[in-house]
């Protein structure tokens, strides 16, 4: 039996109220007053979202060993500020079809991904992954099946699903990464049918298959599902990130594909090698764009 929803759940940090308020803001606040709006809301959430702030601080301690704890508070604020901008831009694209300017790093890999018949787009909770998926799907006229960690709030999840499907003009389909057995089969069938499956590979949640990997010298648990999928489907994995560079400007970072080829070795070592390549890629991108790594739950062992 589920616990009845209480009225104040809407006001929780992950409650739907803030998403609805964001939609109101974007349809009512002229673009030149949005920096002011986002500045003050970031201050508000910096104090309200204490667990997220603590998670960012714990990540920063690992990414920048020996960094000043006071300066890290400023860095945590900056990370939340960038997070506010990215969710705001994604909602802006959905509601007003606002245009954004893009530059591409690793164009050849992006072209290869667009032309591929069945591939895995491996990304992280970094920059504007929602906007990236929507723009990619529209530009390439490709369907993307986006796998996400389930939202804590059911209403927020519904709101996000609708937003993503609306922003991607129906080309982005959301699937939740839960413990249900059918999902891997669905994803495998989608890849075999030539679709692109987008998965966030920087954080493993409970009940999801995971394996130990090293990130910034620390042992972390990363999801191994994307690599198993790549091994079974014999499909390439394309690491892809979309980071905010300036106001309404983004950079798409595509990296060399990772392959999980059947080459006579056992499955475990193929997957381990692929995960090693992924964690090196992830590490290099996070090191450069630490203020846009929105891993708002702790992933490193507590210190």
């Amino acid at each position: 039996m589920t616990e009845p929803r209480r009225w104040y759940h809407r006001f929780a940090v992950r409650g739907v109220l803030w998403r609805e308020y964001l939609d109101f803001g974007l349809t009512n606040v002229p673009f030149y007053l949005r920096p002011v709006m986002i500045f003050f809301w970031t201050i508000f959430f910096f104090f309200l979202a204490a667990p997220a702030r603590r998670a960012i601080l714990s990540n920063l301690r690992v990414i920048m060993p020996g960094s000043d704890p006071v300066l890290n508070l400023g860095r945590a604020w900056l990370t939340l500020y960038n997070f506010a901008w990215t969710i705001s831009d994604a909602a802006d694209h959905k509601l007003a079809k606002t245009q954004f300017a893009y530059e591409v790093e690793g164009a050849e890999f992006l072209e290869a991904l667009a032309a591929s018949s069945g591939a895995i787009l491996l990304t992280a909770h970094m920059g504007n992954y929602d906007l990236g998926a929507a723009v990619f799907a529209q530009r390439f006229q490709r369907e993307i099946r986006m796998v996400r960690a389930p939202e804590a709030d059911a209403e927020t999840a519904r709101h996000l699903d609708e937003s993503l499907e609306r922003a991607g003009a129906g080309a982005v389909k959301v699937a939740y990464n839960t413990d249900r057995m059918a999902l891997p089969l669905e994803l495998l069938n989608a890849i075999r049918a030539g679709e692109i499956v987008s998965i966030q590979g920087d954080r493993a949640i409970a009940h999801v298959s995971q394996r130990a990997a090293r990130l910034f010298g620390e042992e972390v648990m990363l999801p191994d599902g994307p690599f198993m999928l790549a091994f079974v489907a014999q499909a390439p994995i394309y690491p892809l990130f979309i980071v905010r560079t300036q106001f309404h400007r983004y950079k798409i970072i595509a990296r060399e594909p990772i392959h999980c080829r059947r080459d006579g070795r056992d499955r475990g070592s193929v997957i381990e090698d692929a995960m090693h390549a992924w964690s090196r890629t992830l590490e290099s991108v996070i090191a450069r764009h630490w203020s846009q790594w929105f891993s708002l739950v702790p992933i490193f062992p507590a210190r």
């Binding site: 920096p35 509601l95 591929s116």
Partner: protein
């Protein structure tokens, strides 16, 4: 299955290198300088610079109005510290009231834009222009200059709109 895709990265690069301004004045200046420019909200100078100017004018107005009634020293410092967030809350109220007005206008069929932004923009520009006119009557030179700066920018932008229309440019 074969997918034919447009040259995404080239299209992206072209868009990224393109200049985009929302206001007519910078668009006209860029065109006169021979740059390829389009109407888009790409400029951080417009977003941050213009936003801070609009928000700053309302903060200055509130400070000028209330500060003489606040006891000097720590109270004035505290007042000035809390003024910007208080002004932000006042803006939230303004957006809300305007949204209600737009809802009524929509029901009556007098407003059909997809978002309320054009109406909000009009109200905020009108209010800021009123404050700038009040600044012109102030005894303080720097407030007069601030008011004059706003009115000069407004005039130049309106002029740029007319010129761009006459040149049939977006």
């Amino acid at each position: 299955m074969v997918f034919v895709s447009p040259d995404f990265s080239r299209a992206m690069k072209e868009e990224g290198s393109d200049l985009g301004y929302a206001f007519a004045l910078p668009r006209l200046v860029a065109r006169l300088a021979g740059r390829r420019v389009r109407r888009a909200e790409f400029s951080r100078w417009e977003a941050y610079g213009f936003g801070i100017l609009v928000f700053g004018i309302s903060c200055v107005f509130a400070a000028r109005l209330i500060l003489p009634f606040v006891r000097p020293g720590i109270w004035q410092a505290l007042f000035l510290f809390f003024l910007p967030p208080a002004m932000w809350v006042a803006y939230l109220l303004l957006y809300f009231i305007n949204a209600r007005i737009v809802a009524v206008l929509r029901r009556l069929g007098f407003y059909s834009a997809p978002t309320n932004n054009p109406f909000q923009h009009f109200v905020i520009m009108s209010l800021t222009t009123m404050l700038a006119l009040l600044f012109l009557q102030d005894a303080s030179t720097w407030l007069k200059s601030l008011g004059a700066l706003w009115l000069a920018l407004l005039f130049c932008n309106l002029l740029a709109i007319v010129i761009l229309k006459l040149r049939h440019e977006p």
